[in-house]
């Protein structure tokens, strides 16, 4: 198995790990966002709570949750490792850098965006995952939906969530197409489509997630 470690420890292998875990997290976000978007049915959280209930008790989902955390940790670990490695490759910094001339700021800032997302995620997990999995506070009279209503009464929390979603949007805007490039899927016929889907995905996911706390805060949904 030494070859496997060697492969994943090469510069290309690290990127491969980043791309695979990234795409896995991207697929998770579709499920997460899709389920949460049921709140916009404005049915008092009935559909949402049913979904949450299903997710909480289905054994496959429970197993996947472990895989998800594994993937997330790998993504974070690999990202940190790449960041530390790459930082060493230019010991003397340039005095003047005109980065905008050749690349997008968010492409150059994946580490920063990722760190912001991590901080946001810790708060987010504390708010909901910790609440629903590790406390006994979740009851039929106080559902996860009710907890959202409570949490999103704080304007500061709402602002932080919106900023987190903006970070997420930019992180995805680069990450989506970058993952395909890393996997070697660059083709004149398909790459423009991949980039377009990536952009739509990033905007829709980020916008939908951001709309949730905003909608609760302004009581746009009951």
């Amino acid at each position: 198995m030494a070859w496997l470690a060697k492969s994943f420890n090469s510069s290309l292998g690290k990127k491969l790990l980043m791309a695979i875990t990234g795409l896995f997290l991207i697929s998770f976000l579709i499920v997460h966002c899709g389920l949460n978007a049921t709140i916009f049915l404005n049915d008092g959280g009935v559909a949402f709570n049913e979904g949450a209930e299903f997710m909480a008790h289905n054994p496959i989902i429970r197993t996947m949750e472990i895989v998800l955390f594994g993937g997330l940790l790998l993504h974070i670990f690999d990202g940190l490792r790449l960041w530390l490695d790459n930082k060493k490759k230019r010991p003397v910094a340039y005095a003047v850098i005109d980065g905008a001339a050749n690349s997008k700021w968010y492409s150059r800032s994946m580490g920063l965006l990722g760190t912001l997302l991590l901080l946001f995620l810790i708060m987010h997990l504390k708010h909901f995952w910790y609440f629903s999995r590790l406390t006994n506070d979740l009851t039929e009279s106080h559902t996860l939906y009710n907890e959202m209503q409570v949490v999103f009464q704080s304007p500061i929390v709402v602002i932080v969530y919106v900023l987190g979603c903006i970070s997420l949007g930019y992180h995805l805007l680069h990450g989506f197409q970058s993952a395909f490039q890393t996997l070697g899927w660059n083709h004149p016929k398909y790459t423009p489509t991949i980039k377009a889907i990536g952009a739509i995905y990033s905007i829709v996911i980020a916008a939908l997630f951001a709309a949730m706390p905003v909608a609760f805060y302004f009581n746009l949904i009951q």
């Binding site: 510069s11 490695d85 980065g99 997008k104 150059r108």
Partner: protein
């Protein structure tokens, strides 16, 4: 038509690899807009010599954009403000009168500074020596037309082979990654039937050497492609990834 510029130059001066460097500021005046950037440095250097100072050391040779020897990180960009040209083909009409121009060497741990703006790019030679060739001894070849190659493949291989090995990709990359350079050679040879025989071995060996030299990983920002004076495409990096992954997961 021809005009004249007065400029302030902030140039990195470093006596050799073992001492620290710093920026020095120079004023140059009456610079013709028809001059190339290197000719402007020539003017400065001849003045420095006459004044008894050490002239600015910089790499250059063909001065027609093909040898890949010239470098210089000018105002935050490798080879200066224009796309698709090397520093030797950058002309002073691209600058404004009164402008301050900052000139730095390529910065990368794999490209240590030798003196002033001169860096050591021998890492590139070692990457090629690791596998950037077809193992064919002189005299082994069959008749050239015994091996038809689709025109599209030959054209793509040529586009990758147009790399001049200047190192602008490394200089532009926030990670000082050499993936565009390495992938251009892997790509050229992977596209051609002559190179396919050794493709897997080549990809593994060249990537390993690239890592050993201390170049960074790829963040897919596209800065290398944008700054490449020969327009080498990111598609080459994708192809290298395919070659490498299929090699590393299938080799025995």
């Amino acid at each position: 038509m021809e005009g004249h510029l007065n400029l302030t130059l902030k140039i990195w001066r470093q006596k050799n690899a073992s001492v620290a460097g710093k920026f020095e500021t120079y004023q140059v005046s009456g610079i013709s807009t028809d001059m190339s950037f290197l000719e402007m440095i020539d003017v400065l250097n001849n003045r420095l010599i006459e004044e008894g100072d050490d002239p600015v050391a910089f790499d250059h040779d063909c001065r027609e954009g093909i040898c890949g020897m010239c470098s210089m990180y000018i105002n935050g960009r490798p080879h200066g403000p224009n796309r698709g040209v090397t520093t030797c083909q950058l002309h002073m009409r691209s600058f404004q009168d009164g402008e301050t121009i900052t000139v730095e060497p390529w910065r990368a741990s794999a490209f240590p500074v030798i003196k002033d703006l001169v860096v050591n790019r021998s890492a590139f030679d070692r990457i090629i020596a690791a596998g950037g060739f077809v193992s064919v001894n002189t005299g082994n070849a069959q008749d050239a037309n015994n091996l038809p190659i689709p025109k599209e493949d030959a054209d793509d291989a040529f586009a990758a082979a147009a790399c001049i090995g200047c190192g602008a990709c490394v200089a532009a990359c926030k990670n000082a990654s050499a993936m565009l350079f390495t992938s251009a050679k892997i790509s050229q040879l992977a596209l051609l039937p002559q190179g396919k025989v050794e493709a897997a071995k080549r990809a593994e060996a060249m990537v390993a050497q690239m890592d050993e030299e201390g170049f960074g990983a790829c963040s897919n920002t596209g800065a290398c492609e944008a700054e490449c004076p020969k327009g080498i495409s990111l598609e080459n990096i994708a192809r290298m990834n395919r070659e490498y992954f299929s090699a590393t997961f299938s080799s025995k």
